[in-house]
């Protein structure tokens, strides 16, 4: 329980550092400082659950959202799943404002997802595209690479807006 709390703290704290993941920051705070410099660049690779802060990669107006519920999945959301999130940070004039509760589709997840050929994919960060209840994206552009797992989840519109399909 303490470990999950510490990991959650580290996850929230990491977003403040602009996505610089520190796998062991929460765990190291109590224990001794070890020279694990190369772990600093790693993103914590677990499910997207309550209090996970995600980056928004469309032009809907939000910058950062915090997950409040992962629809489908007891442990949390993964790549391609939908979540309910609360907008924590937004551009001043955008379609969504801070504090709004929105739905989102996870388009990039640091946790690896198995592909049907047996290999695994993982991305650099956790990113989300805001959608409405029907699943249509609110924004009109999507930035960065998106996986083609979205095709199976019937998010074809997001794939069509994407610049690069991984």
């Amino acid at each position: 329980m303490a470990a999950t709390f510490a990991s959650k703290c580290s996850r929230v704290g990491r977003s403040l550092w602009g996505g610089l993941g520190n796998n062991l920051s929460g765990l190291l705070s109590a224990s001794h400082e070890t020279a694990c410099n190369h772990f600093l660049s790693q993103q914590q690779r677990t499910f997207i659950q309550m209090r996970t802060v995600l980056k928004v990669v469309d032009n809907s107006g939000a910058k950062k959202v915090m997950c409040i519920q992962a629809l489908k999945g007891k442990k949390g959301a993964r790549l391609g799943d939908t979540i309910i999130a609360s907008v924590k940070e937004a551009y001043p004039n955008g379609k969504v404002k801070k504090g709004k509760v929105v739905y989102g589709v996870v388009v990039r997840a640091a946790m690896q997802r198995g592909r049907c050929d047996g290999s695994e994919v993982k991305f650099d960060d956790n990113a989300v595209v805001l959608v409405d209840k029907q699943g249509q994206p609110i924004g009109t552009r999507v930035f960065g690479p998106v996986p083609h797992e979205l095709r199976q989840k019937k998010h074809v519109k997001i794939l069509s807006l994407a610049g690069h399909i991984a």
Binding site: D117, V121, K122, F123
Partner: protein, 166 residues
């Protein structure tokens, strides 16, 4: 189905193996196993890591230019299925692999020639210079069998063998 190359060690990644990491600039890194993946996360440069193909090619340990490499270029256009073509291609792949293997072996052999003679010469020189570490120089004068024999063209004597007698 496509056989990819591991980004770190340049070995082939067969379907069902490995991890694919997509960076936010949409560059895809494929790894054949977690060893390569972990080295990548440590930010090691494959050109400096001794066991990778990149290092070996860079430092001239392995063959770099050969006509057999031309057959393995990446082709993005799918070919129309033709049974004869497929059959011939499969036969050709086997033959080309064999030819490439023999050529690489020959390259390495050529690189290693002259090593044995060089080692022998170095051993002789070391014996001449450092015999005093093993036997006192005064003894050497008394017992001429311990010194190196004067090179006579008729008989090929191994000077190291003499030293082994003590």
């Amino acid at each position: 189905m496509r056989l990819e190359k591991c980004w770190f060690c340049s070995s082939t990644v067969y379907p069902g193996h490995g991890v694919q990491f997509v960076r936010n600039d949409a560059k895809i890194f494929r790894f054949c196993r977690s060893k390569c993946h972990k080295n990548f996360k440590m930010k090691r440069n494959p050109r400096k890591v001794k066991w990778t193909k990149a290092y070996r090619r860079l430092h001239g340990k392995d063959m770099t230019q050969d006509s057999t490499f031309e057959f393995e270029r990446k082709r993005n256009r799918p070919e129309r299925y033709d049974r004869n073509l497929t059959e011939n291609t499969l036969k050709a792949i086997k033959k080309i692999d064999k030819v490439r293997a023999t050529r690489e072996a020959k390259y390495i052999e050529r690189r290693m020639t002259g090593k044995k003679a060089k080692e022998l010469r170095e051993a002789q020189k070391e014996l001449e210079q450092n015999i005093s570490l093993v036997k006192a120089p005064a003894l050497l004068k008394e017992d001429p069998s311990l010194t190196l024999p004067i090179k006579v063209k008729v008989s090929q004597k191994q000077p190291e063998v003499q030293l082994m007698e003590e």
